[in-house]
Structure formats: structure tokens, C-alpha cells
């Protein structure tokens, strides 16, 4: 047990490093002063100011819409890809398919953003679609890297579950499509849900790719925050951060509950 206690210190310090900045933000979102540095008294006026900040709330709702659409597209793509990677064994071209599905996870955002923008411009020149850039091009871009994350989560989950239930259903004469929708998908449901949430938060968080592929009039939340931060910090941003931390904590607890191991 001495080993464990020796490791507790670096773990505690690591968590302090991760959480102290977030705690400071939460604390100072309730600060009465406009100064973001010294705490003068408790107040919720920055939450009211946030509510009345049309640029921020408008961008928030746009980002939520894009995130919901792109996460749903990413989930459809990612479930198919994850299913193929986990259940098809070794098929021709599998290493390449796996590499292409995994590459968006590490691709630097400036490359993804620039290359997708050039694609959209070339497509518009060639086919007239997409006409101009905005929420829809951002959603397509986010669905692409979101799909990679969903595929990883779904593949991991399906690899854990052995295929005997699906084989049994096939032996009993169920059609392959019915097996997929009635056996595989329900078994993978927690991973599908977690994957959707992951794609959703990644979309909500993306600044760089959205800056490249978005158009006039479609500024997402991170784009608005980025230009606000460059002008200087305000406690409103801390209030926004606090609300996001709260929302994400609830969502993550939900995901944990969905993914918890169950003894059947």
C-alpha cells in the first residue's frame, strides 16, 4: 500500500493542475467587480449580462444547432464504420480504412480547416453546391471529425461484446438487417449515446475548423468567444464557462451511468 500512497501525491497535484483554473473561473463568475482579478462581493449580474448579450446567445444557439446536426451525422457514419471495423474481421483494404477513420483524430485543425474550405470552394465552382458557406458547411466539417471519434467508441464497445448473440440470432433465422437493428444496435447503444455526446461537445468546442469553413453571418460560439477574448477578459465569459462546465458535468455523469458495467 505504500506504493499507492506515494502515487496519490502526483495524482492529486495533476488534478489540482486540471481543476484549479476551472474553479477560479466558476468563483469569479460570481464576482461583483468588473475586474476579473480581485473578488469584491457575490453577485449574479454577469449571468444576467450574459443572458442579455445577443451576440453570445445567438452564437450559442447557432452552435447548439450545428452540434446537434453534425453529431447525428457523425453518429450514423461512425456506427457503420465502427461496426465494420469490429465485426468484419480482416477484409481487403481494412488497414487503409482504419487509418482513414482514425486520421481525423490527430490531424492538426489548421490542415483540416483549410483543406475542407478549399474543397467547398472547388465544389461550389464545379457544381454550385454548397452555395456559399455557413452553418451547413460547418456541420459537414464537424461531422467528418466527429465520425472518427464515434467510430473509435463504437468499435471499442463492440469488440468487448462477443458476437455470439448476433450469431445466435442469425442461426435462428433472423435476417442480417434485423440482427443489426434488434441485437447489435441495442447492445452498442451506450457507446452510440456516448459517441453522439462526444461529437456534440467537440463540435461545440471547435474554433479553428469553423473559422475556415464558416461564412459571413454564421459566427459560432467559439468564434465569438475568440474575438471577445482578444479584446479583453470579462466576467461574462466566466459565467458562460461555468454554465458549460455544469452542462458537461451533467452530460458526462449521464454517459458514465449509461456505460457503467452491468451484470446481467
Amino acid at each position: 500500500m505504500r506504493r499507492a500512497s506515494r502515487l496519490a501525491l502526483p495524482l492529486g497535484l495533476g488534478f489540482a493542475f486540471l481543476y484549479l483554473p476551472i474553479l477560479l473561473m466558476v468563483l469569479f463568475s460570481f464576482n461583483d467587480s468588473r475586474m476579473v482579478t480581485s473578488f469584491t462581493g457575490f453577485s449574479t449580474r454577469w449571468y444576467a449580462a450574459l443572458w442579455n448579450n445577443d451576440a453570445l446567445t445567438g452564437a450559442l444557439f447557432l452552435s447548439l444547432r450545428i452540434a446537434a446536426v453534425s453529431a447525428t451525422m457523425a453518429t450514423i457514419l461512425g456506427v457503420l464504420a465502427g461496426f465494420a471495423l469490429a465485426r468484419f474481421g480482416r477484409f481487403r483494404g481494412r488497414p487503409l480504412f482504419a487509418a482513414v477513420m482514425a486520421a481525423p483524430l490527430v490531424m492538426p485543425e489548421v490542415i483540416t480547416g483549410l483543406s475542407l474550405l478549399l474543397l467547398f470552394v472547388a465544389m461550389e465552382q464545379a457544381f454550385g453546391f454548397p452555395a456559399g458557406r455557413g452553418a451547413s458547411t460547418v456541420a459537414i466539417a464537424h461531422a467528418t471529425f466527429g465520425a472518427a471519434y464515434v467510430a473509435v467508441v463504437v468499435q471499442a464497445r463492440l469488440s468487448e461484446l462477443d458476437a455470439s448473440l448476433e450469431d445466435a440470432a442469425l442461426d435462428l433465422g433472423a435476417r442480417p438487417w434485423a440482427v443489426f437493428f434488434q441485437v447489435t444496435l441495442p447492445l452498442a447503444a451506450p457507446a452510440v449515446g456516448a459517441g453522439w455526446l462526444l461529437a456534440f461537445t467537440l463540435s461545440l468546442d471547435d474554433l479553428v475548423v469553423a473559422s475556415f469553413v464558416s461564412g459571413p453571418g454564421a459566427s459560432t460560439l467559439p468564434m465569438v468567444i475568440f474575438s471577445a477574448v482578444r479584446l479583453g477578459l470579462t466576467p461574462e465569459l466566466y459565467a458562460l464557462a461555468t454554465l458549460l462546465v455544469l452542462a458537461v458535468s451533467v452530460a458526462l455523469l449521464l454517459a458514465w451511468w449509461l456505460l457503467r458495467p452491468r451484470r446481467a
Binding site: 476551472i22 465494420a84 490527430v106 492538426p108 478549399l118
Partner: protein
């Protein structure tokens, strides 16, 4: 319908999507790198043009030549590689003890502890950087604390320094290091350590000869997961780093958004892409092959 057909049908949608929205864009970036900047939108001249009634391919090598000649760009690449490597090492130093502690924790604690590592990653990255600006700025929380404790007389310049940039990158990428390290550490058989202890090895020795070498795949995976995206990092050097921290992501951003030189930005991205694809391919080939065995 045959099994092979069904499989193809499942693969078709993700395959097509990734081909159109992930692979094709790279081909376009590579080709625009050879285009000539021009007025208008898009601000580059087409590669295929009608010259004297014949369709001719016009390749412009000046963008790539500029990258090779102007030391500004070469320096940016080298600085990016250095910053990414040092950041990945810092993540390893902070993340390894954390991952080890979680892997050795009682089983029911592991998932909650891992979730605690991931949770910050799920909250807005930009707002967490904002928190560090609040901590590090001249009138910030850290300077305030140090002044109040009497450690320093005047505020230190912490924000817009290399220190702030490394801190920010380490902070943001730490989960990418901890997860693969944990995955490889938790698989290790504890009996190996017991055997080493029985044979008289002190803990540091069994760590160096058993735990560390066995976790090498995790270290490599974590290092690449931090290193590769960090090479192209834009936001953290821009918001926390000094004006001298001209990393390649920042240079590309400036060429694209401020100078509107799309061909040059494409050339910068192409070179970066080729420099990164090689290690990814190597990693895939080396470790994917090992896992299958």
C-alpha cells in the same frame, strides 16, 4: 443478398464520406499549393487554363520555393516541431504518474478517476485558455498571490511568454497522454512486480526494468496523440504565447486570413501534412501489426 454485398453496403457510406470530405480535400490542398495567387474569390488562378485554344496545366513552384528560401517559414516549422516535442514530454512527465496511480487504484475507482481526467477536455477548450489568461496576466491571480505573499515586489511578466505557451499546451493535451498510458499500464500483470520484489528488486528497479518498458506502446501512442495535433496548434500560441512564438499554425493562419494568400497557405499545409503523414503511417504499420499478432 450475399454477405460480401451487405458488407460493401455498410462500408459504402463512411467510405464515400471520408473519401469526399477527408481525402479529396488533401488532394485539393496539394494542387492549390501549385496555384498562383490572384485577385477575386477564390483568390487564386486555376491550374488548368485555355492558352491558345489548348488546355494547359500551369504549375507555379514559387510558393514551395519561397518556403525553402525564406528562413521565416523554415524557422516556424522547426519551432513548431520543438514546441510540440517539449510539450509532449511535459505531458508525459505530468501524465505518467497520474496514469500509473489510476491504473494501480482499486478497480471501482478507476473509471471515476479517468472521467475526472477527461472532464476538462469536454468543457470549452477556449474558455479554459481564458482561465489561464486570468491566472497569468500582469494583474492576474498568480501575480496577486505572489505579491500578497511578499515573494515578489513587482508583477512578473508571465502571460505572452514561452512558459505560458508550454503551460497551456500541456494543460490542454494532458488527457490525450493519460488515456493511452492508462490503457497500457492497466493491462500489466501485477504478478510481475511481486516476482521482482520477491527476487529482491527495489521498487525503482522494477519500475525501470518492468513497468516502464512494458508501457512503451502507451508512451509512443500518447506522445504522438499530443505531438501531432500540437505541431499545428494555433489558439494557444496566439492567446498565451509571445509575439515571437510564430508556430506554423499561426503563420498559416496569418497567410490565410490576413494576407489572403491561399496558395501559400496551401503550400504550408501540404508540407506540414507530408511531414506528419510519415510518422502516422510508421506508427500504424509498427503497432497495428503488433496488436494483430
Amino acid at each position: 443478398m450475399s454477405a460480401a454485398r451487405r458488407r460493401l453496403l455498410v462500408l459504402l457510406l463512411p467510405l464515400l464520406w471520408m473519401a469526399v470530405f477527408f481525402l479529396a480535400p488533401f488532394a485539393i490542398v496539394l494542387s492549390i499549393a501549385f496555384a498562383e495567387a490572384a485577385e477575386g474569390l477564390p483568390p487564386y488562378a486555376p491550374l488548368l487554363r485555355w492558352v491558345d485554344g489548348a488546355l494547359t496545366l500551369q504549375l507555379n513552384f514559387q510558393n514551395l520555393a519561397l518556403l525553402a528560401e525564406d528562413s521565416y517559414y523554415l524557422d516556424a516549422y522547426l519551432l513548431s516541431l520543438r514546441v510540440a516535442a517539449i510539450s509532449a514530454l511535459l505531458c508525459l512527465l505530468v501524465g505518467y504518474p497520474m496514469a500509473l496511480a489510476i491504473a494501480r487504484a482499486p478497480e471501482r475507482w478507476r473509471v471515476p478517476l479517468l472521467l475526472l481526467v477527461i472532464l476538462p477536455f469536454w468543457t470549452s477548450f477556449l474558455l479554459r485558455i481564458t482561465a489561464w489568461i486570468g491566472i497569468l496576466q500582469d494583474q492576474g491571480w498568480l501575480n496577486g498571490l505572489l505579491l500578497a505573499l511578499g515573494v515578489i515586489e513587482a508583477p512578473l511578466q508571465l502571460l505572452y511568454t514561452e512558459f505560458a505557451m508550454y503551460l497551456g499546451i500541456t494543460y490542454c493535451y494532458l488527457p490525450f497522454m493519460v488515456l493511452p498510458l492508462y490503457a497500457s499500464l492497466v493491462k500489466q500483470d501485477p504478478a510481475l512486480l511481486d516476482a521482482a520484489a520477491d527476487l529482491g528488486a527495489p521498487p525503482w528497479r522494477s519500475f525501470l526494468t518492468i513497468t516502464l518498458p512494458l508501457s512503451l506502446p502507451g508512451i509512443v501512442a500518447g506522445f504522438l496523440l499530443v505531438f501531432i495535433p500540437a505541431v499545428g496548434e494555433f489558439v494557444i500560441p496566439e492567446l498565451l504565447g509571445g509575439p515571437g512564438a510564430q508556430l506554423i499554425g499561426r503563420v498559416l493562419w496569418t497567410e490565410f486570413f490576413q494576407n489572403r494568400d491561399w496558395p501559400l497557405a496551401s503550400a504550408l499545409a501540404s508540407v506540414l501534412l507530408l511531414a506528419l503523414v510519415l510518422p502516422i503511417a510508421l506508427f500504424q504499420w509498427r503497432f497495428a501489426g503488433e496488436r494483430r499478432r
